[in-house]
């Protein structure tokens, strides 16, 4: 950062605001006057999860609800339903927790081939697999009921490409991470940041369905640069 340029730039702003220098502190904005913190506060968690499901249905996002013990089977079924082919999945702890590798073995090579994201193999190797994959699997950390949104951080174990480059993106989300609004999920993200800024994920993406556009005569077309199909698997 060019300090002289920065000082000149910020100095112009201070002067426009009628002061000589940048204030050392600012009274934080008071969010308590806004409506967002109390909205949906009377809903039970079951009702919040139901709101997520209703919204996903309204948006046309495919939703499958299973117990933790059925995640492997549900994924296998969904991989087949989405046409199989090459599947890329992350190196995250959930793979073991849900026993996914054993489940994937049910499928023969003619049905599906699997690649586990491996950052140690470098950029090109991983992106090259992901770009030609039919299906990418990820494990988002939070969900928003009001908009049927999943929140996906990128990490060494699970890169940006997994939920972006393949034609179909399957997200596996735990129901106990679903909150009513972005109000609560932003608070959770702020907690993660404040806990250790140096470890905060460099990319956190909110995903609310398949990519789409209405740029040609306002006709809605699903599938532009991101995935064309999206499935959410909710884990009870």
């Amino acid at each position: 950062m060019d300090q002289a340029k920065k000082q000149a730039f910020l100095g112009r702003l201070s002067r426009a605001l009628g002061r000589d220098s940048i204030p050392t502190s600012v009274t934080p904005f008071d969010f308590s006057k806004g409506p967002q913190e109390t909205m949906y506060s009377d809903l039970s968690h079951e009702q919040v999860v139901q709101m997520f499901k209703t919204e996903a249905e309204r948006l046309g996002t495919k939703l499958i609800e299973v117990d933790a013990s059925q995640v492997g089977q549900a994924l296998v079924d969904e991989i087949v339903a989405r046409g199989g082919g090459s599947v890329v999945y992350p190196k995250s702890a959930e793979v073991e927790t849900y026993g996914l590798e054993a489940a994937f073995q049910q499928l023969g090579e003619d049905q599906a081939t699997f690649y586990q994201w491996d950052a140690t193999k470098g950029r090109e190797a991983n992106i090259n697999v992901a770009k030609d994959s039919n299906i990418g699997i990820t494990f988002p950390i939070l969900g928003i009921a009001e908009t049927a949104t999943v929140i996906q951080p990128s990490t060494e174990e699970s890169g940006r490409s997994l939920g972006l480059l393949p034609l179909t993106h399957i997200s596996v989300l735990r129901e106990d991470t679903i909150h009513p609004r972005m109000t609560q999920t932003m608070a959770e993200l702020a907690k993660i940041y404040r806990n250790d800024p140096a470890k905060f994920p460099t990319n956190v993406v909110h995903i609310s369905g398949p990519s789409n556009t209405a740029d040609i005569e306002l006709v809605r077309v699903v599938g532009v640069h991101g995935p064309i199909n999206v499935t959410f698997i909710l884990v009870k």
Binding site: L10, T149, T213
Partner: protein
């Protein structure tokens, strides 16, 4: 000429050009109707909408009142996260910073997701001059680029004035497209065409919807996924950000997103909302290895702390143009600015000066619908009026004839005898120019009068006015007593 204006012909010439293009005008009218219904449906669901509007306006004002503090905090935290932060006073500095990064990276090809600021600084022109291949990746902007950078007609959906056949023909001619005019087929074609470029590009340019001061995070809203691609695939990312686009913290993003998406496209949320905090860390296998954030003033600091400061609340949703009766008829191209509609009519003169854009504040009926639909409560109609006051009173830029007419009118309106006589003479005059109770056709060619009677049936002033009738009524009552 400023990069902000793409058409500097006289206002009336621009408008007449637009009015002659039926498809363009109808496309904008349909878009207004569609966006109106969609926005209304999602806003009606939020009982707390007005509270949210007030909170958003307050939040934006809070940021503006402390902009030096928050911008400093943002820059420091973005650097801590590993980003390179640059400050650019104007368009030239901003493009110079970008070109320097590109040179250092020996970049030959770039991809761009939507960024209004890049239009503002004329980045594409510089890139092409330097022999760098530019790829706009937003579908609408890709269409405009393929059509030799045809100017945008809307801020959110800029290629609305292209009908599908014309898009097909353009793609066929320029890109060898062989498919039909089906929007889905053409979109798939563009997906394949651009996908390859996303993967090969040296640098990805993005905009920034909101920068977060507490964390140094930049955020990108997109539906097509091009914002995600441009910030994930190339090894270098350059994010361009207008200096006022800040919020204090993550909690603010909740409030701003509540307003932005509902107001812009009439949905509860965009398909994608990315929060990017620094470049990819060592050990990550994708994402930018280098992230540059270019913070741009370009005459915004002249707005801060002044009579037009409320304009800096703007979050570029386009709700004001989706409701504006003037925009409905003259479309984005009537304004000749990359910022059209009511927000553009207020902002453009502030960014380029009255000399070049002094006609824009007059492209309004001052009805106030724009303000009512604005998610951050910018009193656009009042700011437009304020512009007119500056132009007429302070700068004396209006024609001498107009000044003397208004001077005379003010004298007449202030004197009841002259007013009475004036309206009587008006009634007599209109009667002389009438035909069967309407203004005669030949009056359309008269100066001043023609401007009024060409577009509507004016009716005629009555010889006996309300005041005469009322006086008669009072006299009658008196007699009855």
């Amino acid at each position: 000429m400023s990069n902000i204006l793409y058409d500097t012909r006289p206002f009336k010439t621009r408008v007449n050009d637009v009015l002659a293009n039926d498809f363009k005008v109808k496309a904008i009218q349909t878009a207004q109707d569609v966006f109106y219904e969609k926005r209304k449906a999602v806003v009606d669901q939020v009982a707390e909408w007005e509270e949210f509007r007030q909170e958003s306006a307050d939040l934006r004002d809070h940021v503006l009142a402390n902009l030096d503090y928050y911008l400093n905090q943002f820059a420091e935290n973005a650097e801590k996260a590993g980003a390179h932060v640059h400050f650019a006073a104007d368009d030239k500095e901003a493009t110079a910073i970008c070109m320097e990064v590109l040179r250092a990276k020996e970049a030959k090809m770039v991809v761009k997701s939507k960024t209004m600021v890049s239009e503002e600084i004329g980045l594409n022109h510089e890139l092409i001059e330097a022999g760098i291949e530019v790829n706009e990746t937003d579908l609408a902007e890709f269409i405009l680029q393929t059509a030799d950078f045809d100017p945008p007609s809307h801020i959110v959906v800029p290629a609305l004035h292209f009908e599908r056949n014309r898009i097909r023909d353009t793609f066929a001619k320029k890109l060898g497209y062989e498919g039909t005019e089906n929007p889905e087929e053409m979109t798939r074609f563009v997906r394949r065409y651009i996908r390859d470029r996303f993967l090969r590009a040296d640098v990805g340019f993005t905009g920034c919807n909101f920068g977060v001061a507490e964390t140094g995070t930049i955020t990108i809203v997109s539906n097509e996924g091009n914002g995600r691609m441009a910030s994930s695939m190339p090894k270098t990312q350059i994010a361009l950000m207008g200096m006022e686009r800040l919020v204090p913290d993550f909690a603010s993003l909740d409030v701003m997103m509540e307003m932005l998406i509902r107001s812009s496209v009439g949905a509860k949320i965009s398909n994608y909302f990315s929060m990017i905090t620094g470049p990819a860390r060592e050990g990550e296998a994708d994402g930018p290895e280098e992230l540059h954030i270019v913070i741009i003033d370009n005459r915004r600091s002249g707005i801060l702390g002044g009579d037009f400061e409320e304009m800096l609340r703007c979050i570029r949703c386009g709700a004001c143009m989706n409701i504006c009766p003037v925009y409905r008829h003259i479309t984005g191209h009537g304004y000749g600015s990359i910022y059209p509609g009511p927000m553009g009519a207020v902002l453009t003169p502030l960014l380029v000066g009255y000399e070049e854009a002094g006609d824009l504040p007059y492209a309004s009926t001052l009805c106030g619908e724009c303000w009512e639909h604005c998610p951050v409560k910018i009193p656009l109609h009042e700011l437009l009026l304020k512009h007119r006051q500056v132009i007429a009173d302070k700068l004396q830029m209006r024609p001498a004839l107009e000044r003397s007419i208004f001077h005379t009118v003010a004298g007449v309106f202030a004197n009841s005898f002259l007013f009475d006589m004036g309206t009587k003479m008006g009634a007599i005059g209109m009667k002389l120019m009438s035909n069967n109770g309407h203004m005669a056709d030949w009056t359309k060619v008269l100066p001043v009068v023609g401007g009024w009677v060409k577009a509507k049936d004016m009716g005629l002033l009555k010889m006996s006015k309300f005041r005469d009738e009322y006086a008669k009524h009072v006299a009658q009552k008196g007699k009855e007593k």
